[in-house]
């Protein structure tokens, strides 16, 4: 392992733009994945038989197969059946489906941990099941799940590194490119530092959200 400042000096425009790409993809992917997960956990909570079966199958499949394989299927496979999305959308959809499955399982866990009385209180007000979920259950579960969900979001940072394998010039791809030109690992070290930087930002943000929205019982 070696580190040379000249690499940073010579390559910083590329590194910076790659960092921007990674950060942007991370933010977009996280938001979409979380929103998608909320939708899934809400649909699961409705307990509609057919829908639940379908969603459980979706979750099982996406939790238990590697993201990289999912990305390859979306990127190289789908065009063969006539669906050709830009690389970024392949990445976004892959991460949203994959992490959506994980995050919705987390939220489901917190929904199930809520006391039965909260459901009953909602129902005894004559609310529909959807309204009980929407107004009484989900807001609590979401607040409770902030630490666990941010833990999972920190994995989305890492997921974006796989985008390097589907022709996207993000941080890891750029570090790799620097290496093959200079045979110098500085690019990887810089990228590692930048990944950790995003991770710290996320941790700080999560602490804030957690403090602000913590449910006192």
């Amino acid at each position: 392992m070696n580190f040379n400042l000249y690499v940073l000096i010579e390559w910083w425009p590329k590194i910076l733009s790659a960092f921007g790409t990674t950060l942007f993809y991370f933010v977009v992917c996280s938001c979409v994945a979380v929103l998608f997960a909320i939708l899934i956990s809400m649909l699961l909570a409705l307990r509609l038989k057919g829908l639940t079966c379908f969603l459980r199958a979706y979750i099982a499949v996406f939790r238990n197969t590697p993201l990289l394989v999912q990305l390859f299927l979306l990127f190289y496979g789908l065009p063969f059946i006539g669906i050709r999305m830009p690389a970024f959308f392949c990445g976004l959809i892959g991460v949203a489906l994959n992490e959506g499955a994980f995050i919705s399982e987390i939220i489901r866990g917190y929904i199930e941990a809520l006391p039965r009385g909260d459901w009953e209180a909602g129902e005894s007000l004559g609310l529909s099941r959807f309204s009980v979920i929407r107004y009484a259950i989900l807001p609590q579960a979401l607040r409770d799940s902030v630490p666990a969900v941010t833990g999972q979001i920190s994995i989305i940072i890492k997921d974006t590194s796989l985008f390097s394998m589907i022709m996207i010039s993000e941080l890891t791809r750029t570090a790799n490119s620097i290496y093959t030109r200079t045979f110098d690992t500085s690019g990887f070290i810089i990228s590692a530092v930048l990944y950790l930087f995003i991770f710290f930002l996320l941790t700080l943000l999560s602490k804030q959200i957690e403090r602000r929205y913590k449910v006192k019982r």
Binding site: F75, F80, M167, Y179, T180
Partner: protein, 259 residues
């Protein structure tokens, strides 16, 4: 047989006693690196699962000549040169293009084949190289290969992407993830055959490359015998035999092949 090397150019102090060659004889094993997915030079036979190809056969002959075993390690393109420089292998026996920059990092052996580099495109899309130098055009090539840098020079306006393997590149071209795929002609011809009539070459070459094995600066003895080996088989007709077997046509000792 690859235990003693230091990284990169620091191995210059190789004139003396500790040559990688000694270690090779001590271990009875020559360790080489190759990238698969470069038929007909080096690839994995889908029927047998065996690694084979022109470069592989040459490596085998060379090991026989030395009287040692051959151990083949496989890498992605991006890992090929590092595998030599970090001492994981003794020699690269893969489709390595000789460049002046690379010559500062390693010793090139006599080239085993010379090829032009081309741009492969989907049929009927582009007709000349100058059309590729356009912001709407996505060029793809192999991660860690020489064409990435070359493409940036030749086509500064185009978007340049890379993929880990040739197969990924061909799929990318076919699925319109990329508009042109840059590589040496033999690779491109192989891809073109796989995809039947879907691709064509832009006739004008982007560069001329000679492909060669390479070894480290701490292995001058090894380099020396490899060079000698290449010259000898080119003279005694063995090379022509192998060439015919893999390339499907006769070896002509001129500069260009594959046309």
């Amino acid at each position: 047989a690859s235990k003693t090397a230091a990284t990169g150019s620091s191995a210059m102090a190789a004139g003396g006693t500790q040559d990688a060659m000694d270690q090779i004889f001590a271990d009875g094993k020559l360790v080489v690196a190759t990238e698969l997915g470069t038929p007909p030079f080096a690839y994995k036979d889908p029927k047998t699962g065996e690694i084979d190809g022109l470069a592989i056969e040459l490596a085998r002959m060379f090991a026989d000549e030395l009287g040692v075993e051959l151990e083949i390690r496989t890498f992605e393109w991006a890992g090929i040169i590092p595998s030599l420089l970090t001492g994981q292998v003794d020699m690269l026996t893969t489709c390595l293009t000789r460049t002046t920059a690379r010559a500062g990092k390693m010793i090139f052996i006599e080239p085993f084949v010379a090829v032009p580099a081309h741009a492969l495109v989907r049929k009927g899309t582009f007709h000349s190289l100058s059309e590729l130098n356009n912001p709407d055009v996505v060029l793809t090539t192999t991660t860690g290969g020489i064409y990435e840098e070359l493409a940036e020079k030749l086509f500064p306006n185009a978007q340049i992407k890379t993929n880990g393997t040739n197969a990924d590149n061909a799929v990318a071209l076919q699925t319109m993830r990329a508009d042109a795929y840059l590589n040496d002609k033999l690779q491109l011809v192989a891809s073109m055959e796989m995809y039947k009539d879907q691709f064509e070459l832009i006739p004008e070459p982007i560069a001329w490359d000679s492909l060669a094995f390479a070894t480290r600066f701490d292995s001058p003895k090894l380099a020396n015998s490899a060079n000698m080996f290449m010259r000898l088989i080119k003279m005694d007709g063995k090379y022509a035999e192998i060439f015919k077997k893999w390339m499907g046509y006769d070896y002509v000792p001129t500069f260009e092949v594959g046309s």
